[in-house]
Amino acid sequence: MRIFFVIFCLFPVYPAYAVSLPNYEITITDGKFCPEKIEVPAGQRFKITVRNTGIGPAEFENLSLRVEKVLGPNIESFVVIHPLKPGTYHFIDEFHTDMTGFDIIAKEQ
């Protein structure tokens, strides 16, 4: 356990630069996503930049992709999504579960 811990602590130091990943920008406004879905190529790592433009906080979440990000109003952050198999991946705003949410559609190229 401790070995893992040490290895993981070293990572942020070792490659001190971020790769330029394909980026998709979305906004959440009190539970409403814009755009409501994006299409991405399957099998490729990519980045989603999320901005909360609502008046309350939002939580961008998809448990199986282990994305769980709480955003205060007017806060922007990003998540990196690992290579996906073709299919649809549904995201929700945990704080507005009554809304439709957001889909990532991964397509074979």
Partner: protein, 288 residues
């Protein structure tokens, strides 16, 4: 009304289980000073939750960025390790302290145990509590008039429900036998501890994903080993209480296995020591 009710209850379950189990156990063992530590920890936890929530509103960018993610990664790891320590402590306590053997050891164990109890309670409450406060404050701001009233009512009912769960837990500990209570609570604590460790590594892994790492590390962190999606899909409560993932990676499975293996090794060495001490006391009258 349902949203705040459910959120407050759901977010408090984890902290409730940790605090409730420890409390029932300490009460049964009659460890008054540790119970005080538990309440101090709980108080500090609520305070810290409030501070964190305020910090979230003031320094939201930092909390949502890598800084905040690493912060929660390390608090979760600490809580998870503290649970391991707590379990070992509970195990060793059984015969060595109650029977007043080796007073010096007992005293130092009491001290480290108390401190662990305080910190664990504090982290358990602060972590879940801060998110609840952010959520409630956020939604509350958007409500007015009747709906605000309903909202407050929902939140209060949620809290009431949480307290009710706590009371139920205490009643439950009185009904079943000591041995079984101990086993079940140990199991539940380890489940939560393992889940926290997995979630901490998940958080770390998603932070590391930004960097250009060798492919094998990515597949270690991300590639699913198997899928039980058809049987039981990922679910919020399940993930946070047990560390269950429908499509687990080698990292997630490995950590859970390591965590439980460590727990089992620590516990069995703890009981072995107990047995040794017991044998010694049984033998000593003959020697005299």
């Amino acid at each position: 009304m349902q949203a705040p009710l459910f959120i407050v209850w759901r977010e408090s379950v984890e902290a409730l289980l940790v605090v409730g189990i420890l409390y029932a156990w300490l009460k049964r063992e009659n460890l008054t000073s540790q119970i005080n530590q538990l309440w101090i920890g709980a108080g500090l936890g609520f305070l810290l939750a409030g501070i964190l929530a305020i910090a979230f509103w003031i320094a939201g960018q930092w909390f949502s960025g890598p800084g905040g993610e690493w912060f929660f990664t390390f608090t979760m790891m600490s809580a998870s390790i503290l649970i391991l320590q707590m379990i070992t402590w509970m195990h060793r306590h059984g015969s060595s302290m109650k029977k007043q053997l080796e007073m010096e050891v007992a005293r130092s164990m009491t001290r480290s145990g108390s401190f662990g109890i305080m910190i664990l309670t504090m982290i358990a409450i602060a972590r879940e509590g801060s998110e609840t406060v952010v959520f409630l404050a956020g939604i509350g701001l958007q409500q007015q008039g009747t709906s605000l009233g309903l909202f407050i009512l929902g939140g209060m009912t949620g809290f009431g429900l949480a307290v009710f769960t706590f009371v139920l837990l205490q009643k439950f500990s009185g009904i079943i036998s000591w041995k079984w209570y101990f086993r079940i609570s140990e199991f539940v604590l380890l489940l939560i501890g393992g889940a926290m460790m997995v979630n901490a590594f998940d958080k770390a892994a998603s932070q590391l994903s930004v960097y250009d790492l060798p492919e094998w590390i990515y597949s270690f962190m991300d590639s699913p080993l198997w899928s039980t999606q058809w049987l039981l899909p990922d679910n919020n409560m399940l993930v946070s209480l047990t560390g269950y993932h429908a499509n687990p990676s080698l990292m997630q499975t490995g950590i859970l296995v390591l965590y439980w293996a460590t727990a089992i090794i620590l516990c069995s060495s703890g009981s072995r020591k107990n047995r040794k001490q017991k044998n010694m006391t049984e033998r000593s009258p003959q020697a005299v």
